[in-house]
Amino acid sequence: MNLSLVDPFVLAQDYPESTTGSLRSGHATCVRFNRKGDFLAAGRVDGTVVIFDVETNGVARKLKGHTRQVQSLSWSRDGRYLLTASQDWKCNIWDLSDGSIVRSVRFEAPIYIGELHPWNHFKFVVALFDDQPLFVDATNREAIKMTLPSAPKRTRYDEDEATTDKQAAQDAKQNTTVVVFTASGEHVISGTSKGWLNIIELSTRTTIYSTKICSGVVIYLRVTSSGRDVVLNASDRIIRTIQLPNLTAADLDPDTIDMEVEHKFQDVVNRLSWNHVCFSSTGEYVTASTYNNHDIYIWERNHGSLVKILEGPKEEHGVVEWHPHRPLIAACGLETGRIHIWSIIPQQRWSALAPDFVEVEENVEYIEHEDEFDIHPQEEIHKRRLDLEDEDIDVLTIEPVKGSIIEEENPFRMPVQLDLNDSDGEEEFIAIGRGEMRRKSPTDGRDYTLEGDAVASGDDRKSKTKKRR
């Protein structure tokens, strides 16, 4: 409801400008905003998932259950459930109303990515290392795993024994590296290790359309909130945006689908690779973190031009995420595990502090009103003032705020934990006496160890978490 008061120039700014802060709780490796944008989930090296409150920049909840690094996160639509995939080969679905694990599904291989169905928080897809992707229905305690195809759909026109055999051999070697749901949840878009993009219909679990999009491995896919576009990061150092056909149309003929690359974003000078890509809230912008480089790039999709290179802390960033409706970007620092935030620092408008002051662009010649310095008796002024108040007003009817998500019947609200135990080392510095601080030694907080030691610390954790449970 603050929109009516905020400077329109600030509102018009739709991508972040500068770094505005950072969040820290252990060593975070992946982050994800919920749909409302009030919470940010962060997965840590030690397997803990931390939910940050974006408003207070504080920890809202900690979810402990994984024993290895968290690989990917996915929120349910209402923000109540969170799917986490971890390097311990497990996927957990958490209920944030009490922080419990409602489902835990174990797989036979490491998980690349797990993505929750947009409308059903008990269904999700996973892409597995060296294995077929799975569609998991965990409605019942015993989760049902259904295999999805990796092999692209070949057209039948060039039927030729030799090529078919060759293709079959190739397809067998092909793996799915990333899966995402379309907005309706009826289809899954998957990317393979050979650069193919497949659209899989969930009801039949068959590939209805395939296209070879690039030569390298598809690293990451992300669909806009509207579901019309998809951004694809591949190992050939090119980020592609692709418009999706309307897959829910009644008269959809899979053979007529034509998916074309809309834009290709790359850095031809530095030949940079991209760690992670993501759309802006509206899908107008694409942002990416760079490999072996400290910058975050932002392109706009209208003309496909680079609009901003965000500089920030001197470290490489992994996962980068754009806030669902604000010009705010969060990215995980690879070295420190800190979550850095880029946003806009609004300027205080001084005229807001004194209502009789107005900010003007240029000098204005003041013209005195005819009656400006007329002296009226107090009573008359009062009476006039009160008589002016004849407007009909309504203090009760709630007008919907433009641009905000329409609230559902019973929106989920995460309970506020006032007795949160965040004693296990949020801060790098600990007080050792009055006015004295020292940096935490690496031994008493395993959160800060580098990737190499992560195994050892993971084991430590395991025993610890067991005890805790």
Binding site: N2, V6, D53, A352
Partner: protein, 487 residues
């Protein structure tokens, strides 16, 4: 233009006011420790707390000996107000004529609002003036805080006393409920903010310390993750409640902050001050987005956002309640008919059917109800309390029960009896006002006894380490065992 303009009387009060305030504070600190004995508290409490005045920290003491005495500050005040009263009587509703208001007829489509609030319960137990009373967001509980340093929780439906929360070292000026109705925050003259479990009556271990002076007003964010506090130290603080961390300090005002409130979606905070300003802040950035100031520059003591968040209701010490459109920065309505010159009174929006009303206390002991649209006084509960009615709150439900707290130390619950109240008078245990008093006396006696228990406990624990738990273990628990099951 405005009667505040004359330089002769303005600078002096402001300077004077502050210096007396501080010196008084220092005095008491030096001579007697603030928490030394109950008697000491008793000595200066009744005149403090929200109840008390902002312009007259001097008179606070003086009033002890002679109630009628007016010092120079009061004098200027009265003079100003006399003018104003004259204006008002000439313009529209004075106190006497307010029932048959001379306002022009309202638009033809509009059916006039009718209210008939009757006393239902008298809740006694506080040993000193009640500064604030608040309904819990679920409407089931009432919390009241008092200059005696305690907070009491009552059952809104039955009027039963549920718990007494003790722990503050000085009078409690303000309370706020968390959105889930399970936590109460209280702000006190001991400069701290405490959080309490409603169900156990225990305080959370860490207090929110940071204000340099009396904490005067509190509000929870709609999500319950933040708390905004206004203090006599002229600052507005935003707290991260989970970490009990001061999140943001808003360089708000140049005078004590009287009231703060959160808008319904949590994006805005408003604050008001004795300096006559009402400021609207962006929660996310901490920037001031709008300042509302009336020409007369009267001290603003309480602010509240309207239920839909479009307007701000501001209570000022010129006996007016103004409804501001904070987007355009204009006053939309001015409600008059009560007396508010000295104390920071509070009120609330209420709903009756589809219409809104505003209710406020008055320094002459009345509770005044206004129609939001027509500005008419639609009901006046005369002599609702003995002395000042400090705070009135409405329950969130559609029936809009009203609760009031007064300087006389009582809390009263009022219910609206629609059309022909005399007929349905015996229903639901609701009696006529007179009967109500009698009938409730039974209840009151119990509460009274409880009140004495408090006294005993207080005496015992006041000097030593105050542990509400220990005290409660003895008698508090036994009293409320059965109710704990409810929770």
């Amino acid at each position: 233009m405005s009667d505040f303009d004359s330089p002769a009387d303005t600078p002096q009060p402001s300077g004077h006011r502050r210096s007396t305030k501080r010196s008084r504070y220092d005095d008491s600190e030096a001579s007697t420790p603030r928490d030394s004995s109950p008697d000491e508290l008793a000595d200066h409490q009744p005149y403090r707390s929200r109840l008390s005045t902002r312009r007259d920290s001097g008179p606070r003491r003086r009033a002890h000996s002679s109630d009628g005495s007016v010092d120079e500050l009061d004098h200027t005040y009265h003079e100003r107000n006399r003018d104003r009263n004259r204006d008002r009587s000439s313009s529209s509703s004075t106190r006497d004529s307010s029932h048959s208001s001379p306002r022009p007829p309202s638009p033809p489509t509009y059916r006039p609002l009718k209210l008939n609030y009757q006393l239902k319960f008298i809740l006694k137990g506080h040993r000193k003036g009640v500064a604030q009373v608040r309904f819990s967001p679920d409407g089931r509980w009432i919390a009241s805080c008092s200059a005696d340093g305690t907070i009491k929780i009552w059952d809104a439906a039955t009027g039963k006393h549920m718990r007494t929360l003790e722990g503050h070292l000085a009078g409690v000026s303000t309370i706020a409920w968390s959105p889930d109705s399970n936590t109460i925050a209280s702000g006190s003259d001991d400069k701290t903010i405490r959080l309490w479990h409603r169900t156990t009556g225990k305080a959370y271990p860490a207090t929110l310390a940071g204000h340099h002076n009396y904490v005067y007003s509190l509000a929870f964010s709609p999500k319950g993750n933040m708390l905004v506090s206004g203090s006599y130290d002229e600052a507005v603080f935003l707290w991260d409640l989970r970490a009990r961390r001061l999140m943001r300090s808003l360089p708000a005002h140049s005078d004590p902050v009287g009231g703060v409130d959160f808008i319904r979606d949590g994006t805005l905070v408003c604050s008001c001050s004795t300096d006559g300003l009402t400021r609207v802040w962006d929660t996310a950035t901490g920037q001031c987005l709008r300042t509302l100031v009336h020409e007369d520059n009267a001290p603003v003591t309480t602010v509240r956002f309207s239920p839909n968040g479009r307007y701000i209701l501001a209570f000022t010490l010129d006996s007016c309640v103004r409804l501001w459109d904070y987007v355009s920065g204009t006053v939309k309505k001015t409600y008059q008919g009560h007396v508010n010159k000295k104390y920071s009174l509070g009120g609330a929006f209420g709903v009756s059917g589809s219409d809104g009303f505003i209710v406020s206390g008055s320094e002459d002991g009345d509770i005044v109800f206004w129609d939001v649209r027509t500005k008419d006084v639609v009901q006046r509960a005369e002599k609702a309390h003995e002395g000042v009615v400090c705070w009135v709150d409405t329950s969130p439900g559609s029936d809009a029960t009203v609760v009031s707290g007064g300087l006389d130390g009582t809390v009263k619950i009022w219910v609206n009896i629609p059309e022909g109240g005399e007929v349905v008078d015996g229903m639901n245990g609701v009696k006529l006002e007179q009967d109500g008093v009698d009938a409730d006396m039974v209840d009151v006696k119990i509460e009274d006894r409880d009140g004495y228990d408090d006294t005993l406990r207080d005496d015992a624990s006041m000097d030593g380490r105050r542990s509400p738990n220990r005290g409660r273990g003895r008698n508090g628990n036994s009293r409320s065992h059965d109710r704990m099951d409810e929770d």
